[in-house]
Amino acid sequence: MAGRGHPVLWRLAQTIPVIAGVVVISFILTRALPGDPAVQFAGLAATPESIAQVREALGLDKPLIQQFLIYCGALLQGDLGRSVVTGQPVVTDLAMRLPASLELTLTALLLACLVAIPLGLLAAVHQGSWIDQLCRVVVTAGVSLPTFFTGILLIYVFYYLLGWAPSPLGRLDFIYFDPPRVTGFHLIDTLIDGDTETFFGALRQIALPAITLALFTLAPIARMTRAAMLGALSSDYIRTARAAGLSPSKVLFGYAFRNALLPVVTTLGMVFSFVLGANVLVEKVFAWPGIGSYAVEALVQSDYAAVQGFVLAMALLFVLLNLLIDLSYALIDPRIGFSAK
């Protein structure tokens, strides 16, 4: 496939209007929300004068259009503004917290895939057997148990009763030092640093929240894998492959599974998006310093800059994710070319 670079650039260019739309909408929506940041920021003992002063300092007294232009100007220079709550630039806050959320989400997804895909695969191959029933039970349990409930249950059992898990307080126990920051992912940074002890500390810390999230995400992945495999296994080309005497493993993995991957990847993309949203509850339960709890905090405090920054970061993340999914489609399925929209 020659010249793949060009269509990818074109695909990226198509995301520009999306980003612009997100900028406008997030700006308007935050302003449309009830609550006045000047009042929040000025504190409880504020007088009307001090509130007006704060409003002026924050630039909130200017007309909306002007505020928007100032915001856009800053945005172009990579400045997302300053959070009123933390007092830090929003960019710094996001850079601190986004990796934490991503690390948790990706670990959970990886864990979910490792369990769900083989489970769905086996359930499809042995349709109606005990493993199929197990798959059904896991799927039903996964979707019906809310994450905060499984989270608390896991904490109760593994931390409180058994004492296997460390206290659910953030990414690292206080006895460890944060690893030197390279990727922002503790699990990777500690390995780069060669600090296996901290690595295991981080691993122990992330285990419970990741399992909680994984239990939740497992269901759609396992279900889709099973359905896609059933579809692939009953198709004509599988019959051809069997009639040609190909070995069962070749038929299963080389022929059926690769064809079933497409809907599974689609599901993965969708799951990833809603897990980033579902994170908030898990982050709250496990005191995980992630982006979800940051956003909720900011929203409650009418922290315009932080909310806008969060929405924008999420939008960029989704655009990137969709791009990745589209690219992996093209890798899996030769029928999908970029020129073919």
Binding site: S234, R239, A244, G245, S247, R335
Partner: protein, 551 residues
């Protein structure tokens, strides 16, 4: 070489065990070709899957013996069967595009088989795969090695399937409806190739098909299957000339072939005199310079390149051509579901080409132009029962309701020969022929003047096709309808139509009275189409034929 004795294949279903094959026996000697003929549900495909032991889940051989060169295939271990599949017995399938892995290069799919059976190593696999492609006469095989199935035509895909099947030089090839869904000229090319390859390699073959003519032309011996049993078997030539079993007779009669009239497709006892049918003088449809251009991925594609023809009142015109010739596009434009790019469609004196397709639904002429769709199953809403399907146009366009509606639907069901008690059934509870009747009843519900029939019998068994074609002939005379019959099969079109248009690459290459076009085709393409139709042996000695000749 192959010996099948009292084979019984059962399936476990929700409604209990069903026997798809009920004790069949046949032998096959080296170099021999056996044709197994039967209509859908006769168990012919299941027989072949049982031989290969690739039955779907729930299916199993419940009794009988299969012996392959002394080896017991019924009891052979799965590992031993895998060594036989593809290496000693291999198989090709219908719908070749679906039979290939859509996301694997065709060359790689051939390599998979070669490697599996140790016929090639990592190093020479590619060369051998290209060789296999060359053997099935794929031009530029080295480049095609990298192609994916979706980049190839249906005929090419079937060649690739054949290449996979023959890559390891098996001794027996089972062809399960190998040309269903392929164009008639492609069918001939593929079947000729199969015959050539099996005779060159001294292989045996089993050709499974619903097409008696095809089976008779390409096999030495025929076995006719019905309801899981072989009702009659014998050498192809003698079976055709002197069929003993009534079912075989019925099948032979129902096969459209040159020289027979539409009533002769039916069993002798059902042949009522054909209703008179005489086209009027007045032009009902006048198509002038009709064009359609689609915006394709790589530039515009001109599907219909300016065609003109007339259809007179009461006339039946056939539109014949192979896939991609633009016949479906033309019919979609005529029925006003698709907007033409240029040209005029004059219906009953006024041009309707200018009315956008989405507005035509509210045009008073909507009810006068109706269509019977190709796939009787897919064109019925699965959540509507037969009554609702037929009543829909009456409600929407006819404004009927209540008792009047019920009376009209009953009348239509009676007219199309659909038993009244089936009206409450849903499409999945109806047979193919019954669904075709529902589709026709729906199309004629509003007493249309002009009916477009888009391959209305393509998905039906020949005996059902014979009945449906005759029904259409009766309805035409009774309701004084004008037909445009779209089909790929000249032999079917001829039965019903006075006039034929042969279409190719968006142009009409030949037009004329059916009899003249059939007997004395002018255009080379028409001649090729006629020549490609399977010719059963000794057809002229058929009793029906001799009677006709005597007249």
């Amino acid at each position: 070489m192959l010996s099948v004795k009292d084979l019984v294949v059962g399936f476990r279903t929700r409604r209990g065990a069903v026997e798809a094959v009920r004790g069949i026996s046949f032998d096959l000697s080296p170099g021999e070709t056996l044709g197994i003929v039967g209509e859908s549900g006769s168990g012919k495909s299941v027989t072949s899957y049982a031989l290969m032991r690739i039955l779907d889940a729930g299916g199993s051989i419940s009794a009988g013996e299969i012996s392959w060169n002394g080896q017991d295939l019924r009891r052979a271990r799965e590992g031993a069967m895998r060594a036989i599949r593809g290496r000693e017995i291999s198989m090709i399938f219908q719908n070749p595009r679906a039979a290939l892995n859509p996301i694997r290069k065709i060359g790689k799919q051939i390599e998979d088989v070669l490697l599996q059976h140790g016929r090639a190593g990592r190093r020479d696999a590619k060369a051998k795969a290209i060789e296999a492609l060359e053997a099935v006469k794929i031009r530029d095989a080295a480049a095609r090695y990298h192609a994916y199935p979706f980049e190839l035509s249906g005929g090419m895909c079937q060649r690739v399937v054949i290449a996979i099947a023959l890559a390891c030089n098996p001794k027996l090839l089972i062809a399960d409806e190998p040309t269903t869904g392929l164009d008639i000229t492609t069918q001939k090319a593929v079947m000729d190739l199969v015959r050539e390859l099996i005779s060159a390699r001294g292989m045996s073959a089993i050709i499974i098909t619903h097409d008696l003519g095809l089976a008779a032309q390409y096999s030495d011996r025929l076995a006719v299957m019905k309801d899981g049993e072989i009702v009659e078997s014998g050498a192809s030539a003698t079976l055709f000339a002197a069929a003993r079993h009534p079912y075989t007779r019925k099948l032979i009669d129902a096969t459209p072939r040159p020289g027979v009239a539409i009533r002769e497709l039916l069993p002798a006892e059902a042949r009522s005199p054909e209703p008179p049918h005489s086209p009027g003088r007045r032009k009902l449809i006048e198509v002038v310079g009709l064009e359609k251009t689609f915006a394709g991925k790589s530039g515009p594609v001109q599907a219909v390149k300016g065609i003109s023809f007339d259809i007179r009142e009461g006339q039946s015109v056939g539109l014949v051509g192979e896939s991609g010739c633009g016949k479906s596009t033309t019919s979609a434009m005529l029925v006003r579901l698709l907007d033409p790019s240029a040209g005029a469609i004059v219906f009953d004196g006024s041009d309707i080409a200018g009315i956008p397709a989405d507005r035509f639904a509210r045009d008073p002429r909507r009810g006068r132009i109706q269509m019977v769709f190709q796939d009787a199953t897919d064109s019925l809403n699965p959540r509507h029962n037969a009554f609702d399907a037929i009543a829909e146009p009456l409600r929407r366009l006819g404004g009927m309701s209540g008792k009047r509606l019920g009376v009209r639907v009953d009348e239509l069901a009676h007219l199309t020969g659909l038993p009244g008690h089936l009206l409450t059934r849903y499409p999945h509870q109806l047979s193919g022929g019954q669904k075709a009747r529902v589709g026709i009843a729906r199309a004629i519900a509003l007493d249309p003047d002009f009916l477009i029939l888009d391959e209305p019998t393509a998905a039906l068994d020949v005996s059902i096709q014979a009945v449906v074609l005759n029904l259409l002939a009766d309805l035409r005379a009774r309701l004084n309808m004008t037909y445009l019959f779209v089909s790929h099969d000249l032999n079917v079109v001829r039965l019903l139509c006075d006039h034929v248009l042969v279409m190719r690459d968006g142009l009409i290459v030949e037009a004329g009275p059916s009899a003249r076009v059939m007997q004395d085709p002018e255009h080379p393409y028409t001649r090729a189409l006629l020549a490609a139709a399977p010719k059963p042996p000794v057809l002229d000695r058929l009793p029906g034929e001799t009677v006709k000749a005597a007249e």
